[in-house]
Symmetry: D2
Subunit: 333 residues, 4 copies
């Protein structure tokens, strides 16, 4: 088993902790959180040892890998320290909100032959991933359009939103990455975005948006449309449509169960969608972890690494810029 | 165009009248109903001539065909008279409620080389019919099970029900015919039925059932399950499932429109089903009429004839008998 | 019945002719086409009289209405002449490809109290129309997004395409009108478009596109996304999604039949979509005609008139302009 | 945590072992199998101790519960021994193939106040279970029909089949139990069955069937239809339909993923169904285990106990008997 240390014990950190604990591949040796109470509390649940200082993990030669699930602003520092100490890194998205910090980090670690996997979990979703396989197998001919719908069931707290970097850097970044995933060797070439607030006017006050839409055009001419919403009355709406010269592939929503109700009012009423990312992407998180184990053991490149994080942020920044310029912004990836 | 006379102007007669009027193949020359008021009334709508006596149609040499949509008890007489007068016959289902009368009629017309099409409209439904085509093309391998669901939106009047011959002879007779349609050269060999009343106890008083289920077993061992209900809160439920060694074919319900509603309560709420046979089998009735024109012009045997009516009634009678014997009744078709 | 004359006997004109012939409301008194052979040929099928000169229709005082289904370039002239002769007009979309000609026509007929219905048939589709009703009834709360997918099964001839005015004026114009239909009192405020060619490079030669995507933003902030394609391997893809604060409404595709096939390879295989507009919008065309009869008889404003045609073209022109400017173009409707 | 011993390490025993190992509620202290090699082999995987003799588990006072997943013929003996040693029992279905042995066991343990849960896992399936909840809440009014489809992807080995007790006692027993689950206070009153072999004639040699259909009629008149097949080309077909006076509930199939493919041949092609019970009823097995923990800790009666096993077998025997008598057999439960 691979000895690993987990940094960060927020909602997603705890989920990763449970997956690490149950995994056949990993031994969760240490957990660390800036709040010591949290690490102590979860050391029991996760059957592991709480440490007060990340350096204890770095110094332990048995520790092969660091799993970073802490606040975004700490990611780069933990990556730098981890890489310097020859650890293999898993880092949650986004890398950081500043492209400068990311570029600087890239330079610093270049010579150290860094091994970093990034938490773009959706690439590992069985259905989203199956679309990629069928696309590669030629089922729909040449790819012509990518249409992604992503709607959260409810917005996060205002506190979170204020520090989130805005809907493009915090939420749509997943979709920017998926566009790159499906484009493969083709590249996003330009982007234009639109944002607006209709129902929840609190977003106006923080210069952010509850609703956003984007068109990305690839070098080959593929038109990629992304539509996001920070709320969705019927659950976590996650759909992808790939349209090609010979067919179409859709990744459809997952529901809570397979009940279908017929009555005088309407027919075929299905259950609500799975509520949010922890339920919806449960399998994706597990597959991602298996891929991380392969990355460590067999040096097989994971589906998403440091470059995926860097490029997705560049696209997000261009989307944000297009809001002011009101025009297509070029992308140099 | 083929000159034709329509007998019977009840709900289904009027529907057929409209189809005849709009058809490129037929010239609706006469209409006749035992109630002269009705024929007069509809002669305008249907742009045709009302006659007081069927013999006027029989004597008119231009009249090639008689379309019988009158009360069941008059069918055999009109068939006999029509055939004697060398008319080609279309007769609504059922032929009659008495198998004796049917057998006697069969004998009488045998030498006259009768040309009779029977109104088993469901064989002409685009989807039900497509199942037959795909079955014949081998898509699901050997046929092993036929499962038919048929539920009327609401029961007819008690007056109608009393004279209907009961659920097996009046309603399930369609499904008995469909079983024969899909079995093809194979034959129904035995049958057992169950009937009960749970919600609408009026059926008890007339020794009839609102709910019925049947298992038919074919000579080759195909198990055919039919489930009927005289009421259905969500519309006219019409489904067929063919299960075979290599796959399954389903003829799914038709809805009023293609709207799908998502809300906090449930997802993918579709519109109610098409309400009843006139809407649901609109295309089937049109295709049936086209087939009748071909039958007349090119002597191509239609999908259902006199024998289909006779055999379906034999099955219905056996179903009824099995209710008393509580055992499988043999079928000699 | 309303005496009417039909101008233009191309594919869509003949379809309208048949609907007029079968309608209870209309008496198709004359047909006219610039090619006399055509009018002669169809005078039989449509049981009507061919005329060599439109003026015969204008002069006939019994003629209440003119149905214009001729080439786009002739629409404005027929409208002008028809209105001057006090006829009520039905005109196929688009009004014209030149906004100047349209504005000029608008001025000329203003004082004549013109009665003009425009052939934006999709507003009359039972499912698309049901979405509008459910939206108005508050089922999905405040409207936030409109997402329209429209893909033709195959491109028209190059000859047609060269004179079509391009994908935005010829094809997406339907969707621009639908956006206005669902926005209601809200207004499209700005638009940006993207066009590209991936599979069928012939479009490059005529400066047109096989693929187009558009974001329209309304005054209230509603984000409207339209995606078009001139080809679609699986049929005529026609979908609409309305997303609101309390739910979502989808107008789903219509298929050829309701067959569903299960096999070792895949499950629930449905039949291809209805092939093209004449089949897909059959009910819409009939409903549109009923609305035209109401317009004539009861002076009830139809769902689409001259202004709908004018405004849709303004949007299409702005879409085209945004391709050069690469930025959002303002809309003044 | 509850100390537990697992008997039987076949495919399903190993699955239960893994669930017990991962459960927060149980400590899997011992495993036992008649083949010592198996227990040794799995003691590592399941992080537990292999024992050579069940009595070691009975004698250990810390052991609260025995989990029986061994061959059917050993169930009754283990139940008797377990109950005598005051252990709480979980036993896989079926209890036994001999109703006499079961009745005798019932008498023997009566005074010992036995606590036995039976492995009718389908009652715990989230969707099947949701149907029961919605039925109880009145969503579909009075229950009138229960229609259950159950088809295994492929038959077991001939060796297994020979000792299985036949399709009614081995396979349809699950569905008999589900009928009782949905009927609630109502009771199955009579049953008739049909069995046949069409594709796989090996079943003829062992007097068993690849295909079976059954009608059960309840005291209240509910008609219950069960259709089984030992093979199914498209996966593990598991569907339930509850039809009532006010609506219908369907428990639909679960697929491998949510991909939907559109092409020139067909539209909306979904992925194959989940292959077999371990994948399909993964959540059901987990929920069942949670219920067992509640049963032990809080003495809350589980969804299925000894009586459910006994009554399901009585129904299966009557089904078998009806094959010879060819008539409805009465059920005294």
């Amino acid at each position: 088993m691979i000895d690993i240390a987990l940094f960060g014990l927020g909602r997603i950190g705890i989920m990763h902790g449970k997956n690490l604990m149950r995994s056949k591949d990993f031994n969760l040796k240490y957990i660390y959180d800036i709040e010591q109470k949290l690490s102590k509390k979860y050391s029991k649940t996760l059957k592991t040892k709480a440490i007060n200082n990340p350096s204890l993990a770095y110094k332990d030669k048995d520790i092969k890998a660091i799993f970073i699930a802490s606040t975004t602003s700490t990611h780069i520092k933990f990556i730098l320290d981890g890489v310097k100490n020859k650890k293999i890194i898993f880092c949650e998205k986004p890398l950081d909100l500043s492209i400068k910090k990311i570029e600087s980090c890239k330079k610093k670690i270049k010579r150290l032959n860094p091994k970093i996997q990034l938490g773009f979990n959706r690439r590992y979703d069985p259905t989203h991933n199956n679309l990629k396989k069928q696309l590669l197998s030629g089922k729909i001919g040449k790819l012509e359009k990518i249409i992604i719908t992503s709607r959260d069931p409810a917005p996060p707290t205002m506190k979170y939103l204020k520090e989130s970097g805005g809907i493009f850097r915090d939420m749509m970044i997943h979709d920017f990455d998926l566009v790159r995933f499906y484009l493969g060797n083709d590249q996003p070439a330009k982007i234009i975005a639109s944002g607006s607030n209709i129902t929840d006017k609190r977003f106006d006050k923080i210069n952010d948006f509850e609703l956003a839409s984007t068109i990305i055009r690839s070098k080959a001419g593929v038109q990629c449309i992304i539509t996001n919403s920070r709320h969705c009355s019927f659950g976590y709406d996650q759909r992808i449509e790939l349209f090609g010269s010979k067919g179409m592939l859709i990744s459809e929503n997952k529901r809570q169960n397979e009940t279908s109700l017929y009555s005088a009012q309407s027919t075929s009423n299905k259950s609500p969608l799975l509520n949010f990312f922890i339920e919806r992407y449960k399998d994706a998180y597990k597959n991602q972890l298996k891929d991380f184990a392969k990355f460590i053991r067999k040096k097989i490149q994971p589906l998403a690494g440091f470059e995926e994080g860097r490029k997705a942020l560049i696209i997000a920044n261009a989307a944000q810029k297009s809001l002011q310029s009101k025009k297509f912004e070029k992308l140099n990836l």
